[in-house]
């Protein structure tokens, strides 16, 4: 019996290790390519360890493409603003839908649920025309304003606040705090786990978004990282050492954040995953 268990365990470990290798290979290959010379890249030999280890690719991409720091800045500004606004607005909406009574509440909630079902492609074209009319193409606000709320997370926050103990708010009301005051001072600070989960998803979504910037940004100065990376690839298509170096530069910050906060990522998914 004991021996059989051992074999089973070994088998599971083999699966786990094999899949870990499958997961890591693309990243390691990209990382090693980013330290190789063009000669070695072109020669097509498999070696994860560069023959002539070089940092030149990393230096060179910043010389060839001076907009890289600018793209990083754009991405940070947009993703951070979108995240903060989403946290605030989705929570406000979720709280109102969970706790307050007002005419039109039910239809509004149904509309928000219905919006969840509409694929982004339907609103993409009219959105472009509206932003064009507003003069918001090629602008931060064109990237930020349409994405500053999110139906999924309004729904999630409503579910969260519905299960929130009412007694706390009643006590705050007795102490003479207004509804808005209660929301900001009592309720919101206690919603931290839900907010953390939301923050991660909104940030990742905005940071990695490719389609929206592709449509509304045409000025290279305003590109976000994914878009900039794509245009960089267009220019240096056979210089895979540069392209991999650029890819790594953009991936490392997220990886570092992930290594420190991976707990919240996993929690966040379980939170949105039907619970």
């Amino acid at each position: 019996m004991k021996k059989k268990l051992g074999i089973g365990k070994a088998f599971l470990y083999v699966i786990l290790v094999l899949y870990a290798i499958v997961t890591m290979i693309p990243f390691l290959w990209a990382l090693s390519s980013s330290f190789k010379t063009l000669e070695e890249i072109v020669s097509g030999t498999i070696s994860f360890i560069p023959k002539h280890f070089t940092f030149d690719n990393y230096k060179q991409i910043f010389i060839e493409q001076q907009l890289f720091p600018r793209w990083l800045f754009n991405s940070v500004i947009i993703a951070v603003t979108v995240t903060l606004l989403n946290l605030l607005f989705n929570s406000m909406a979720g709280y109102a839908l969970a706790r307050l009574q007002f005419p039109g509440k039910k239809p509004l909630f149904i509309i928000i649920l219905a919006v969840l079902m509409i694929p982004a492609q339907v609103t993409m074209i009219p959105n472009y025309l509206i932003l064009k009319q507003l003069g918001w193409l090629n602008s931060y606000q064109g990237m930020i304003v349409p994405t500053m709320i999110n139906a999924t997370f309004i729904f999630m926050m409503r579910q969260f606040f519905i299960n929130f103990p009412k007694e706390l708010e009643e006590a705050a009301a007795l102490d003479g705090l207004s509804r808005i005051g209660t929301f900001f001072r009592i309720v919101l600070p206690l919603a931290r786990p839900a907010l953390a989960a939301q923050a991660i998803f909104v940030f990742m979504g905005s940071w990695n978004d490719f389609m929206r910037p592709l449509i509304i940004l045409s000025d290279p100065e305003l590109f976000t990282l994914p878009l900039g990376l794509n245009s960089f690839k267009g220019q240096y298509i056979s210089y895979w050492n540069y392209i991999m170096a650029a890819s790594m530069v953009f991936t490392l910050p997220v990886l570092v954040i992930y290594i420190f906060f991976n707990r919240y990522f996993i929690k966040g998914i379980s939170f949105t995953g039907g619970k």
Binding site: A20, Q101, P126, L214, F250
Partner: protein, 295 residues
């Protein structure tokens, strides 16, 4: 009392005002606008002009060969990727949940692709798929045939499928992992008493218990895969090539809307067609999983 109710309603609207603003201007307004566009020919030159064309945009789809190719590619992609990523996610989750040492480490590693942007992942894979790149070298090393992954219309879409199964499965794995923690031990103990082995326990206890989660994962998968765009776009530099083999419905919508002149209305009509297809696929899935759960 009356005043209090008013006050509450006012607070409610105040808290909802940013949501209402975005909802009206960028979601509900655009949906209505999209319906309008679908029945018009749109010209963007100088000032935007709209010409009413009735159902022309919808009729046009039936004769549009590229639309058929795009739909065929997308359906092929969905039908292969959704089951594969769901099964892979379930197997990985079950393996991770077996209570082995180091499972936290493996979970952290597995989750990496989900974090990385689609642009970066696509570039890394294009590099690996290169004619004398890593994947062909590995295939050759074990004696399998090599392919021109990026340039051969027969395999280009498969290359994207493999990449996306690899990158989305871990996300669903985490959803499964959360659900696995809820399965009561007593179920497994009962199965053990009945003499079930590990595979039987997985098949007769884990899989049925997770059915509602699977339904959720499949629906999310359907919605996501039908909207494939980033990877096809980057892979083919926006063309859907080689020979339309990576052309997806959303990429086609993008091309008609923003790359060719005078076809924006047609693109809006295609977007509605896609929304309806996704809706039907989701409903079919629902139906299917309900019927299954009768047994």
């Amino acid at each position: 009392m009356r005043k209090k109710a008013w006050c509450e309603a006012g607070t409610g609207y105040l808290l909802l005002s940013p949501t209402l603003f975005v909802l009206l201007l960028f979601i509900i307004g655009p949906i209505l606008f999209a319906i309008f566009l679908a029945f018009h020919k749109v010209q963007l030159l100088g000032t935007t002009t709209f010409e009413f064309v009735g159902f022309d945009n919808f009729k046009r789809m039936t004769g549009d060969l590229r639309a058929k190719i795009a739909l065929w590619n997308t359906v092929k992609y969905v039908v292969i990727v959704v089951p594969c990523q769901t099964m892979l996610a379930l197997v990985l989750a079950a393996t991770l949940n077996a209570g082995l040492k180091g499972q936290k480490f493996f979970r952290i590693v597995y989750f990496l692709p989900t974090l990385t942007s689609s642009a970066v992942l696509t570039l890394i894979f294009m590099w690996m798929y290169n004619q004398n790149g890593l994947i062909n070298d590995l295939l050759q090393a074990v004696g399998l045939p090599t392919y021109n992954w990026l340039g051969d219309p027969k395999v280009a879409l498969n290359a994207i499928m493999v990449m996306n199964i690899w990158s989305t499965a871990p996300f669903f794995m985490v959803i499964y992992l959360a659900a696995l923690q809820d399965i009561p031990d007593s179920l497994y103990e009962a199965a053990e008493l009945d003499g079930a082995n590990a595979i039987q326990k997985f098949w007769y206890v884990t899989v049925p218990y997770l059915r509602p989660v699977t339904s959720f994962v499949v629906i999310m998968g359907l919605i996501g895969t039908f909207q494939l765009f980033d990877q096809s776009y980057i892979f083919s530099a926006g063309s859907g090539g080689p020979n339309n083999s990576t052309l997806t419905v959303v990429l086609l919508i993008y091309q008609y809307a923003f790359k060719t002149l005078g076809t924006m209305g047609y693109a809006a009509a295609l977007a509605f067609a896609l929304a309806i297809i996704i809706l039907i696929a989701t409903l079919v899935q629902r139906r299917f999983s309900k019927e299954e759960s009768l047994y």
